[in-house]
Symmetry: C2
Subunit: 443 residues, 2 copies
């Protein structure tokens, strides 16, 4: 009988192992994909693409010519060779080859320059060829940074005693109303895809006080803009026993600060490769919705057309205002009009036309919506009636409140939008691994 006893260390080495180990002058075994072949005559450079970056290997023509004729870019190989210092190589060393083994070979040449600094292809082409274009060092660096943001979110909230939950994505009705729901047949029942985990995370506040979820949400919005996706990853949290919705903004600021420090520590190479400098999160201004509109109207000489709505252009100008006036990358806009918020938003007792809510704008783009929720069943039932809604399909959600809920609130962050702004991208499709928009369900 054979047994598995856990992880077994492999013979092949990774770049960081060679750097931190004592391998100069020694024989090593490495594998990788051929990123680039540079034939210099007597000498050939074979640059390997590995998960940690590029590794230069060198080969002197002669004894391995038979194998060499087999090599091509994007082939997967395993090699043996001697480590030698070489300042001009990535990481300051190269591997002088003694043995090459081809593990697999492509059958066609690349339709896109994944091994050039500039891929020179339109977004449309890069998305069409996504599984290939992502092999480019800069493309893959973007989604490593995105990984870092998600790690930051989870690790920070875990340190703050939040519990991670997994709420269902198929349900009987949406949390935000019927306008932009994807509908499906579910064993002869009508079902919808979750627009947000809103109802579930609120229900779970009654269980764990503090919960978070990182999961896809689905919005059948017909907007085909640079900032909309029809499926995206939402970073959600909800916390009980808040004193005010200020607590939620404090928590989000804490998350941002924690995450920027994590990116600086663990994703430095990717940030450098992408030429990204991290935003300032030390202090984030907060401004009331109505005040923000006034400030922008005054400074940029605009008239306020609709006092209860923020146009995308106005959002951008609010971002610009706070950047110009106080060098702020982020701004919390608070007290959104009640009619622009869902029924579960807590109205401001001092003026019920507004809510105890906020958006966080990053460089003039909304990346978060959050606020305090109604925790009192009577108040919630009243608001449902006042909005001309029915309790149908919300029975268990409402039951939760009849059986007691602490004051609470939370937020949802669009991961792709946050990544987009952090990386200075212009289109949110750049920061979705396989974006879903009104025209795209492949690859």
């Amino acid at each position: 009988m054979e047994f598995l006893t856990g992880q077994v260390k492999k013979q092949t080495l990774e770049i960081s192992e060679i750097i931190t180990g004592d391998y100069d002058g020694k024989n090593v075994r490495v594998h990788g994909v051929i990123h680039k072949i540079r034939d210099m005559g007597d000498i050939v450079f074979i640059v390997l693409r590995k998960r940690e970056g590029l590794l230069q290997t060198v080969y002197e023509k002669g004894n391995m010519d038979a194998v060499f004729s087999e090599l091509c870019e994007e082939a997967a190989i395993e090699v043996c060779g001697i480590v030698a210092k070489e300042e001009r190589a990535p990481h300051g060393f190269e591997v002088r080859l003694r043995e090459i083994k081809v593990l697999s070979k492509p059958t066609e040449t690349m339709p896109i320059a994944v091994n050039k600094w500039k891929m020179g292809a339109s977004l449309e082409t890069r998305l069409e060829l996504r599984p290939l274009s992502l092999r480019h060092l800069k493309e893959r660096a973007k989604f490593r940074v995105q990984e870092g943001i998600v790690r930051g979110f989870r690790d920070f909230l875990h340190s703050q005693d939040f519990t991670e939950i997994h709420s269902p994505k198929i349900g009987a009705r949406g949390a935000e109303g019927g306008a932009n729901l994807f509908r499906l047949e579910y064993f002869h029942k009508h079902a919808v895809l979750a627009q947000s985990p809103q109802f579930y995370k609120q229900m779970m506040v009654g269980v764990y006080e503090r919960v978070f979820e990182v999961a896809p949400v689905f919005r059948a919005e017909k907007h085909n803009t640079k900032r909309h996706l029809n499926e995206y990853i939402s970073l959600d949290f909800e916390m009980g026993f808040i004193e005010s919705f200020q607590d939620i903004m404090e928590m989000e600021t804490g998350f941002l600060q924690y995450t920027m420090a994590l990116l600086e520590r663990d994703y430095k190479e990717e940030l450098t490769l992408l030429g990204v400098s991290l935003p300032n999160t030390e202090k984030i201004p907060q401004v009331r919705f109505d005040r923000a509109k006034e400030l922008v109207a005054q400074k940029y000489n605009r008239s306020i057309r609709n006092p209860y709505d923020l146009e995308p252009e106005e959002e951008a100008l609010i971002g610009q205002y706070f950047k110009e006036e106080m060098g702020a990358d982020f701004v919390f806009v608070t007290h959104y009009p009640s009619k622009k918020r869902p029924f579960y938003a807590m109205d401001d007792p001092e003026d019920t036309a507004f809510t105890l809510s906020f958006d966080l704008l990053y460089d003039g783009l909304e990346i978060t919506t959050g606020g305090q929720r109604i925790h009192d069943y009577g108040m919630l039932a009243e608001k449902i009636v006042a909005r001309g809604m029915t309790e149908e399909g919300m029975e268990q959600y409402l039951m939760t409140f009849r059986h007691g809920m602490p004051p609470h609130g939370g937020l949802g962050i669009g991961l792709e939008r946050l990544t987009m702004k952090l990386l200075g991208e212009e289109n949110v499709r750049e920061t979705a691994l396989f974006p879903r928009d009104t025209g795209r369900i492949e690859p």
Copy 2:
């Protein structure tokens, strides 16, 4: 202008802060939900349910009677009082109350005994009342353990240089064929919900070598059994440059070992509460599919009806066999018949009727399916033809292989099933927060 500068420490304390701080005899402020009120005459015990557990507070009748009449179970309150050692109380201390503030109150009494050791309700009732029944200490402990499993999966794979990805859940076609797909309209296109991230994680092996994802998958299976869900959380990983599918089983064994240690360290209280002892993961036997069938047939005196299939009962007996023969909780069953595996599974070159694949059985239940995949485009194209399939809807997946892919493989683990077996539950619905089965899309 006001600014957010990060997290602000609150006045209210958590249980662990009181335990580790020097609070004996001192005044503290805490909040919580009233779990239980025990009126002893002159003295009343008000047991608070907090995210870290129960906290006993005591109140002497007299000066706060007005407030006391306001209190009821499931009300959220904030209190002030003096910390005093009390051996009979949870955590060895209680808080003697001086001040009580009611934050919110339920409007109805609980339909289910969330504050008794035995809830005394059927699974059906508990699921119907899920947002309430989850408030029970044992119920919420289950999903804390589940959180621990997910943390273990991510943390271990992160330590092994895997990159986390987020693949889309809406797509043009499924990875496992058409039988059990949920279908939806997507802006006048036909779309389906992802049965697995299979195609995407393979494509991403070409980018990062090693990737993982924790996300929902959707299976329109009509099975209404104790081990099937129609939406569940799949723990997926895929790794390149493997030498054989043994590497994948080693990685999974490593994950299990890491996770059991993490649960032992961070979720001890929950495990104790649930009376769970962790399984042995030190060494996990592996056995060929055909050999396992023989062993079970011999020992339990069964005839082998179908040499190419494992019935659920046979799976259970394989689990029983290895438990009895070598005290094993887990067993890897390898070399599944080719006809029982998807087209992308790598056939065993020594006998192409079988594949280089495995299932991991835990206590006789399949919790993982994995194996080596075909990485050669020609071989993949041949197999598609041999199976009578077409390349339609798989263009970009197949393109990936034409442009080079290293040898690779991976697995998918059903989170709810793993949790179920770990906790000794009989029904997978017990370990899904809000389960989706053929009859259930609410709550």
